[in-house]
Symmetry: C2
Subunit: 601 residues, 2 copies
């Protein structure tokens, strides 16, 4: 089962590294236990295997496509798959019982979605997006809005979307111009264009609930004048009927990957009859949206890691079955060829994928667990989890998407020329992955967020808390002689981040904001390596502990030993590049500031 | 003209850095001068712009496709484009006048093909491959073979191919089994299967000349028993007629990129009537083929760099036209958005592409010039150029293909979400590029070649010669105070290669070949960074010299200054990763040797 992931690894992460059962102590999750949760997750994996994975290739070859008159045709199986997913409650499972959910922790819920993402990331896009949209309504919508929209989204009949991007504004949300005009009836009339709307109207759902950012007439300029609206494609008519709400799908975008996942251009209010319902208070839309956005960023990180996991598994399977060549030391050509997994370079490519994918997934679970802890705690503790999430969100999104692409390239490389052909899935996964560093904020945006907002927020408290978490793991690891040298290496790299920041902060202190932020992406790369190194140290500490408790091992000794081996691999092959980034960051003089455009010719 | 490249840069590389006019002093090229050569090249650029570039997208969307009965349908324009290319003599221009060519240096010939590769790399595949096949016949074929095949290949009527790979053997040429049986009539009868045959029979040419590796009955096992054959699809019948030669196209491979470039499966001798004509002596096929292969590896490197150049140019154009966002220091949202090229991170992405692409192209020209110098020199000098080419060939192929992919990913990133859509070419170029690290020897194969053969050949003489070349450039650069610190940095990195090799050589000396080669790819990455750093230092030295000779400047001062800026950028952002690779390479204990397969689960 589940050729696209590794069930043993997932179980280890969930219950041993990130200790899901600790969450089950809290009242909100006290209805759960490990065995039951694993059964729920196995049924998600089965759904992914039986319903999503078989259509991965077909959905790529028969992409979602605009019909020229307002509709988007999707794969004929999509409607059924969304319904099956909804039947197993995988759209709303995170919500409380009173909200129609299964009251699962995010940690468990997101693990379920990992299977969908790894099996067929386009399909998971539709259901994951609906889940996020419903969550936003649950958090900030009125009771009436919740009752009207959430159950239909959870049932998979309606699709939730997020409508932010406009053609002229792109990543710059302060420049959005979609206009909302108040009416005497409580609703607003909206007019504007939104592009790159994932799942934005198609033939597999009956209605579309667009969570839309727009500017109320007379609102202040910039992000402080943005409000959040619910805009359905068909609005409630009052007598139980639904009326077309003047939200027209004006076209779609054909893409190099995620071709089964519709990406559309929506036109609101062409006929001045597009009703919009304000969520929460006016002008606070961006802060509301950021709840969904932050969740979406973690999801994108997890999706990237999951797609890269599927590519890794495909390349591993190939490496175990394909005979070719001999060791360099074997000079006799009449000896039979060996399986390619025996070649050192193939192992290097597999291990590299493994440390990227499994390190990234571990960080995803770290973030999911923090979401849960934040939800169920109060006061200073809640603030701590909030700050940790704030600083880790751009990192998990960026590391998984950037390194996930590199990982999938290695999966292709393991297959050689075959990897480039459409006979194998690795090339599709490589194409699908490329979107992950772009949507929900590009790598550049995430890096500005990390260095410009998260590192400096509350006088550096988020960073301080993260450092404390990392130091705590280092501290435990140092108790084990086997891990001590690795713990020391990670400690040095953590110290290097501080010294680089000391250098950069001088620019910030002088008000040289642009210079401070110029190489934010390089800082992101450096910080990510340390954070993923931390996740590997954490896995290795857990493994050493489990190897000592001989009676309580869920996995084989080989599996636990592999954690230590992979930590060592990460520290040898990947982490040294953090020092290279530091070298780049502390050089004097800016190379990417304005003034030298003539150099581009 | 030529939106897909930078004519000023190409001219600078060709005449100022790599001093093409020095070649014109030799008798073979004395018919050429700079002005005339530039005119020839401008006409190639024009052909690329007018005939190749317009069909880039269409050829991707309407891929070459097998018809189910032996034929492959290509884009309707392909035949015409091949003929136009042939009319301008761009298939055979490298050949001597007496061979039907223009007797151009490789340096000039390959620069012409750069335009084709950057404009439409699939189309250049067909003509470049024909050129290589004809070159192989010219070098090792009989007069009759040359007269029969070369003129028709140069005229574009016939397609030349190379047929090496077999389904069961992949990269392992020692395992090929295609069998050749001698006959009393001088020809051989061949039987076997070849896959991944680029340009291997399609509807844009009338005949196909497959340069095929096969094993003569009773030949020794391994690579020492491989012979080279000419196998036409239609063989000369003796009376001027051509007879079908039992070479059946049994299918094609659909691919994630280079979709206009047919990749086929050929079946030789299904009806025991496939005549093959031995080239040169029996059992020497692999060494002959390596002439074509080495040329092809340099071509693939150049093709990768050229495709990445096209992606860079597309992203540069977008960055100069797209307004979005403001500097972080600008807090007033009513200020108009700025062009994205003014954002530091966009500049970083553009400069990164530029140092990769222009550094790689400079190394391509270095190799082309060495090919010419090798051809026109004798004795010890010829041997020197030969050894330099030997060691640089795997490096240029690998650096350009691996870093070219990274560069094209940055091109997508500059465009944001638009870069992922089929409305812009960057995503196609990213897809096309992925094949470059696979064909003509994967990155793993190139790296084994570098560390296992080229570094050690003739007691390390190739490496010593390369080091001397790099030291010579460093020596000149140190004379200029502006360049001295950069020269010193490169010198340190060159020394680091020596110290890493000192470490690795201990394994080789102990006969631990597998351990010595285990991280060959990491060594390749390190060595490539130093070699590209050398090319940047070379460009900067040239630029400083030109800035001092005020009256002889071909380009603007800005252009020359950009070379120094880009050198500095490369040394700051890219070169530090060489030290990280060194760190990986000198760690004790092998992590990718056999014995830990259990770690893969």
């Amino acid at each position: 089962m589940a050729r696209f992931t590794d069930m043993q690894f997932i179980r280890f992460l969930l219950f041993e590294v990130h200790r899901a059962e600790e969450l089950f102590q809290y009242p909100r999750f006290s209805h759960l236990d490990e065995e039951q949760v694993w059964m729920i997750l196995e049924s998600a994996a089965k759904l992914a295997e039986q319903e999503l994975f078989p259509f991965l290739k077909e959905m790529d070859e028969q992409p979602a496509r605009y019909d020229g008159k307002g509709g988007v045709r999707t794969h004929p199986q999509l409607k059924r798959i969304i319904q099956k997913t909804a039947e197993q409650q995988w759209i709303g499972a995170y919500a409380g019982f009173d909200e129609g959910g299964m009251q699962l922790p995010e940690l468990v819920y997101n693990t379920g979605h990992h299977f969908f993402q790894a099996a067929n990331n386009g399909v998971e896009g539709y259901t994951g997006l609906s889940a996020g949209a419903a969550g936003l309504i649950l958090s900030f919508g009125s009771k009436e809005q919740i009752d009207t929209y959430v159950p239909k989204i959870f049932s998979g009949e309606w699709q939730g979307t997020m409508a932010l991007t406009e053609p002229q504004a792109g990543s710059s949300l302060s420049d959005i111009t979609t206009a909302a005009k108040p009416t005497a009836n409580g609703h607003y009339l909206v007019k504007g264009q939104k592009i790159f709307i994932s799942g934005g109207q198609h033939d597999a759902c009956d209605n579309f609930i667009h969570l839309t950012l727009a500017r109320i007439e007379g609102a202040p300029p910039g992000v402080k004048g943005i409000s959040l609206f619910i805009i359905p494609k068909f609005r409630p008519g009052g007598d139980g009927d639904f009326i077309y709400n003047d939200v027209y799908c004006a076209g779609d975008f054909q893409k190099m990957g995620q071709r089964g996942y519709a990406t559309t251009h929506l036109s609101f209010g062409d006929n001045d009859d597009c009703h919009a319902y304000l969520v929460g208070e006016p002008h606070k839309g961006l802060s509301y949206m950021f709840q969904m956005m932050n969740g979406a960023r973690i999801s994108v990180g997890q999706s990237a890691a999951s797609v890269a996991m599927a590519a890794y598994q495909a390349s591993l399977q190939y490496a175990k079955e394909r005979p070719q060549g001999r060791h360099a030391s074997e000079k006799d050509p009449t000896q039979p060829p060996i399986l390619i997994i025996h070649h050192a370079d193939v192992q290097r490519m597999l291990f590299t994928q493994k440390v990227i994918v499994e390190g990234a997934l571990s960080l995803c679970m770290e973030c999911s667990r923090l979401q849960d802890l934040k939800q169920i705690s109060t006061g200073a503790e809640k603030e701590k989890y909030h700050l940790l999430l704030e600083i880790l969100t751009p990192i998990v999104k960026t590391y998984a998407s950037e390194q996930g692409s590199r990982s999938a390239a290695l999966a292709i490389q393991v297959l050689g020329g075959y990897g480039f052909t459409t006979d194998f899935p690795v090339q599709q996964l490589y194409r699908d992955l490329k979107i992950m560093s772009l949507y929900e904020g590009t790598t550049g945006i995430q890096s500005l967020d990390l260095l410009g907002r998260k590192v400096t927020m509350e006088n550096g408290k988020a960073l301080q808390l993260l450092s404390e978490e990392i130091v705590a793991t280092i501290h435990v690891a140092k108790k084990y002689p086997l891990l001590e040298p690795f713990a020391i290496q990670l400690e040095q790299e953590l110290g290097r981040i501080q010294s680089v920041l000391g250098h950069l902060m001088r620019f910030a202190a002088k008000g040289e904001t642009n210079r401070y932020l110029a190489d934010a992406v390089v800082f992101m790369e450096m910080a990510s390596l340390v954070v993923i190194g931390w996740q590997w140290l954490k896995q290795a500490v857990t493994a050493v502990e489990k190897l000592q408790e001989k009676n309580r091992q869920r996995s084989s000794p080989d599996f636990y030993e592999s954690r230590i081996h992979l930590l060592q691999f990460f520290l040898r092959y990947e982490l040294p590049h953090a020092a290279a980034c530091a070298h780049t960051l502390v050089q004097p003089g800016g190379l990417t500031e304005t003034g030298n455009l003539a150099y581009f010719g």
